[in-house]
């Protein structure tokens, strides 16, 4: 608890993120660039996976990982705010939402484009994987809309936290949807109980690309959190000035 409080200090966060965010931007961009180079130029095409179209994997799969991980992070931050009322946890949840929505939209869009030449369709309305990820996008958008509709910051944090925590149930549903229901989507090939089923030549660029996306996402979350802290400070100063006038 003491350690949590130490990390939840906005002054300490601003000092830490001042050097950590640029480092994450640089490392994230480098790893994404390396993954792109490997994915488009270096790795051999896999005829079993439809030829060159499998190269979409190096952007679609990291986007899917980030979509699920970001929602999980938002739910954990919301839980932390709900129990301990740390302002920084609420700021983190608020910062994650638009970025999580962006990566989820990227996952859906690239999945749809990949689906057309592979399955012969852009979209399948009764597919559990596609629909659960679409629901995830609506959860992110709903979270933002709900917060924006509240007339105070406290109410926005509370309503948003409840939605984020309840919506967290959708994340395991996405992960196991291909095992529990019939789906056009292939089974998991990286995160499985028996370990990765993918050949190393594809696995390493995919993992590095996933790490790059994660670092870039982390840098963007830190930047948005810094912006929110500055915005809240400005609002407090404005209120103090008005009270003094």
């Amino acid at each position: 608890m003491g350690m949590l409080s130490a990390f939840a200090n906005p002054h300490r966060f601003l000092a830490l993120s001042n050097w950590l965010a640029p480092l994450f931007y640089a490392l994230g961009a480098a790893l994404i660039g390396w993954g792109l180079w490997q994915g488009l130029w270096i790795v051999p095409k896999d005829e079993y996976q439809g030829g060159d179209i499998m190269r979409v994997m190096f952007i679609h799969v990291p986007a899917a990982w980030l979509a699920m991980a970001s929602y999980s992070a938002m739910a954990v931050a919301s839980f932390t705010w709900f129990i301990w009322r740390h302002e920084l946890a609420d700021i983190a949840a608020k910062a994650i939402a638009p970025l999580g929505a962006t990566w989820t939209a990227l996952c859906l869009a690239t999945g749809s484009v990949w689906g057309k030449p592979t399955w012969g369709t852009w979209w399948q309305w009764d597919d559990a994987r596609m629909m659960s990820v679409l629901f995830l996008l609506f959860l992110f958008l709903g979270y933002m809309a709900l917060r924006a509709a509240m007339d105070s910051r406290q109410k926005a944090a509370r309503a948003g936290a409840i939605l984020a925590m309840v919506g967290g149930l959708n994340v395991p549903l996405i992960k196991f949807s291909v095992d529990m229901f019939t789906s056009l989507h292939q089974d998991s090939s990286v995160i499985t109980s028996e370990g990765p089923k993918m050949a190393a030549v594809y696995l390493w660029p995919l993992l590095m690309s996933g790490l790059g996306h994660s670092l870039l996402f982390g840098a963007l979350v830190m930047t948005l959190m810094r912006a929110e802290i500055w915005t809240r400070r400005a609002a407090r100063q404005r209120a103090r000035l008005l009270a003094g006038a």
Binding site: L40, I53, R55, V56, K116, R226, W230, A234, R240, L241
Partner: protein, 55 residues
Amino acid sequence: MIDFLPHLDKNAAYIWACYGLGLVLIGGAVIGVVLKARAAKSALGRMNVSDEDAS
């Protein structure tokens, strides 16, 4: 076709569309976030100046 680009099979348009979407969405997110942070920082700076003027 430009020589430095990878030589992809008949699905090249789908592959480029996916990476184009990535560039637009992620690039847009980076630009939007950086602009928002800059605006928030300068707004706080303006408030600090007003605060100093008032005191």
